[in-house]
């Protein structure tokens, strides 16, 4: 309890400490990755977090209270709020480095999401089996495992439609929500491909297999616990019990697109930070990897079987929604992340493993988990006198203080399931489900009816068992 209070205190202190209405002349370091150059700029005042808060509020309330206005205007709202932050950084702070860095992260994020979305849209999996809680458990477990091979986005896009089709006569919102919990988030904690924050850690110097070696003992019981809760809820669902006969066949179409998925996975590693022979396109805010991914988007869409696209009701709207909203989220969260990084460095000595776990987790649920992870990684390294920009030091830190790294890795990935905006695929799964006729809970209902009662107790158990009183 003391640790939780400490974490909340830390979060509040970050905001108070950074002087709500004045730019106090503090500075922040922005890393320009390609050049490994460190440039200092003024820290933004705390009121610059307001556009981010407004955007979060709009995402939460728009679909409930002004649904059609939101549907028509969300791109303009996201861009307008993002533009406020961008203009502030350009005109007041003269800080183009933070903007370029964020643009590069956004392009990398959307290239991966879009390419996985389009390539998997051309794959059709049909399972003609009777829906049972046990079959659903198997699908969720498979999803959790393959999320580590093709990413949480790839696994979500590949499995959400077959999962819904199997359950079409008995589907309820909890099916989709547990799918988001397990396949779109928690499952992907074992490899850098699984979830973007771990990939950023990998680029900084953490070994590829570090996560599977150090996180599996947390991942396995957590996935098991969430699936077990799902199983008992699903057992009570008696809808759709009929005498219909099933062939038990599993049909798979769109092999060509599996090839595209493999290309995307290989391209993840085509980065100057991983392979020294890969040319950097600096100062452009994208690299060879993003060019390959965007090319796959085009080729996979043009080359996909029209019948499969039609059967999947493939449409660009879900990815368009993510692309627009995350333009706003990425831009408006720059000040929030910089303030957090600044405070985390100041308070680094006082922050324990528990505080790192809860602070990374809570912020990952509402901010994008990738930059949040990187900032807390930087704070942890700072606490022990290491530098996040030096690969050998990150590697050394991962060997000497694994418990710290484990806590933020677990928290960043797991807590992404807390809200629709915690991780990219959450929103896409929601959008696909709604288009299929499933009425999904609102932002708040998701949080209050599902995340808080199901995930928070599990994440608390994880904390008590693995991190409480350590470090």
């Amino acid at each position: 309890m003391k640790k939780i209070t400490m974490t909340l205190f830390l979060l509040i202190l970050m905001l108070i400490n950074s002087n709500l209405f004045a730019n106090d002349g503090l500075t922040v370091s922005n890393q320009v990755e390609q050049a490994s150059e460190v440039v200092t700029h003024a820290l933004p005042p705390a009121y610059m977090v307001i556009p981010f808060v407004l955007l979060l509020l709009a995402i939460a309330t728009g679909p409930i209270f002004y649904h059609h206005f939101w549907e028509k205007n969300y791109p303009k709202i996201a861009i307008a709020l993002g533009a406020i932050t961008v203009l502030y950084y350009l005109v007041v702070l003269h800080d183009t480095h933070s903007l370029l860095h964020t643009l590069a992260e956004y392009l990398s994020f959307i290239a991966l999401l879009a390419s996985l979305f389009i390539a998997s849209g051309g794959i059709l999996i049909k399972v003609d089996r009777k829906a049972t809680p046990m079959l659903n458990v198997v699908i969720l477990a498979i999803g959790a495992v393959i999320a580590n091979v093709i990413g949480t986005t790839g696994a979500s896009m590949l499995l959400i439609r077959p999962f819904m089709k199997i359950n079409k006569d008995r589907i309820k919102p909890y099916h989709i929500i547990f799918f988001i919990f397990v396949v779109s988030n928690i499952g992907g904690a074992l490899t850098p491909i699984g979830d973007p924050p771990l990939f950023l850690g990998f680029l900084r110097g953490i070994e590829f297999f570090w996560f599977i070696k150090n996180v599996t003992h947390v991942w396995f019981p957590t996935v098991l616990l969430v699936i077990l809760i799902f199983y008992f809820i699903d057992l009570r669902n008696k809808d759709g019990e009929s005498s219909q006969t099933y062939s038990n066949k599993i049909e798979f179409k769109g092999l060509k697109n599996v090839g595209y998925l493999i290309v995307i996975l290989i391209s993840v590693f085509i980065d100057p930070g991983v392979m020294s022979w890969v040319p950097s396109l600096s100062p452009l805010p994208f690299g060879i990897r993003e060019i390959i991914m965007f090319s796959v988007c085009y080729l996979a869409y043009k080359g996909s079987d029209e019948k499969i696209l039609k059967a999947n009701e493939f449409d660009f709207e879900p990815i368009k929604e993510v692309a627009y909203l995350f333009i706003g989220i990425f831009a408006t969260m720059i000040p929030a992340l910089q303030l957090i990084a600044h405070e985390a460095k100041i308070l680094g000595d006082q922050i324990s493993v528990s505080s790192f776990y809860w602070a990374t987790g809570i912020l990952s649920g509402f901010l994008d988990n990738a930059p949040t992870y990187l900032n807390f990684l930087s704070a942890e390294l700072g606490k022990f006198g290491f530098d996040v920009n030096v690969k050998d030091q990150v590697h050394q830190f991962s060997l000497e203080y694994p418990i710290y790294l484990e806590a933020i890795s677990v928290a960043a990935v797991f807590f992404g399931a807390m809200t629709y905006i915690g991780n990219g695929p959450n929103f896409m799964v929601k959008s696909i489900s709604e288009r299929a006729g499933v009425k999904m809970p609102s932002f708040f209902a998701y949080l209050i009816k599902y995340s808080i009662p199901v995930l928070i107790p599990i994440f608390t158990i994880v904390w008590l068992v693995f991190y409480y009183g350590k470090g």
Binding site: M164, K310, N312, E313, F314, D315, R435, A436, G437, K439
Partner: protein, 121 residues
């Protein structure tokens, strides 16, 4: 009064004009999915949709879409669960799932949905 079977066999296409849809048969509508909107309330004349059973056709107005052409893309459809006029609405076997593809010249192409489509009743 035309039957749905006749409409399908003679390939008589429904029509749309902006936000108005004309189905060439009479039916009750139970659910419409258009984009992310799931419409089951047809009582309002301001939001969602409303429909009228005319003598030979059914007329639907979508209040939140100025022009359906702007919203429903090539691969997307307007999906409906309908019950033909004269059929027992309480018998689930009479619930028919249909998709409408927006085409040029105000034409909607109608397709009875099979299991390939993901449409939850």
């Amino acid at each position: 009064m035309r039957k749905l079977e006749e409409v399908i066999s003679k390939k008589i296409n429904p029509l749309y004009y902006g936000n108005r849809v004309l189905l060439p048969f009479m039916c009750d509508i139970l659910k419409i999915v258009i984009e992310k909107d799931i419409i089951t309330d047809f009582s309002s004349s301001k939001k969602g949709a409303e429909y009228y059973k005319r003598e030979t056709y059914t007329e639907i107005y979508f209040h939140d879409y100025d022009d359906l052409e702007d919203y429903v893309t090539k691969y997307e459809t307007i999906k409906m669960i309908i019950v033909e006029a004269g059929q027992d609405v309480f018998d689930f076997s009479n619930h028919i799932k249909i998709a409408f593809h927006v085409k040029e010249k105000h034409i909607l192409e109608m397709e009875l949905l099979n299991d390939n489509y993901l449409f939850i009743e």
